[in-house]
Symmetry: C2
DNA sequence: CCCAGTACCTTGTTATGCAAGGTACTGGCT
DNA sequence: AGCCAGTACCTTGCATAACAAGGTACTGGG
């Protein structure tokens, strides 16, 4: 609960920020987000994190989903950012920069 | 719950990292930590965050407290890092660097 | 004499990462 | 035919931590 705790806690909110950014670049479906995030060192995540997150984002009106068939498996639910999602992403970018720089300053001494 | 949510969630764990770093530089008492952290843009925090955090750190053996009199008010509980605390701080530094760089990469496109 | 400041603490609410489990379809191996 | 791994969606329950709000106790100034 300690060795893993730090990563777990910091990821709170950071994951949401990352997902919004990825959806801003191009649309993704949930399973794809899990795989791409897990490939990044330090952001290992799971379906139990991403699917509820996507539901929250949809309920908040930040993303909109669209079912689409796949030739190689079950249908996929693609998500893209809404205008409100873009606005929120801008907000998060500012807050992330603030916090990141604050931490770097406090910690580098 | 959205405008403030991001900051709140990202701070989870980040605050612990900051406190450990500050205690590594020199000993601090709780009220002092609240004031110094609140002076930093983006890390605004409160006693309801810091005191429980210090208790957790003490129970985990990462910090050790020491009461000391003050000439200008109630006695203060000064905390300093234990050797185990220093070890944990090194760990957190590595994890923070990983996550910070991962987020910066994912987000800057 | 009260009120603001310093300094400690706790309780309850809320949010969210994650493990674990469930459904359903496809394709390959034996 | 039978089975298992992979793809893709989802939910429930647990543990954790930030924060608001409230409580205690001492000090010094108006």
């Amino acid at each position: 609960m300690n060795a893993n705790g730090f990563g777990t806690q910091v990821k709170r909110g950071v994951i949401e920020f990352c997902v919004l950014s990825m959806l801003n670049r191009r649309e993704h479906y949930g399973f794809e987000l899990v795989q791409e995030l897990s490939r990044v060192d330090g952001l290992l995540t799971s379906e139990g994190t991403i699917y509820p997150l996507l539901s929250r984002l949809r309920r908040a009106g930040l993303v909109s989903p669209e079912w689409r068939e796949s030739t190689s498996g079950p249908p996929r639910k693609y998500y893209r950012l809404t205008p409100e999602g873009e606005h929120t992403l801008d907000d998060y970018r500012r807050q992330w920069t603030l916090i990141r720089d604050a931490v770097n300053t406090l910690v580098s001494e």
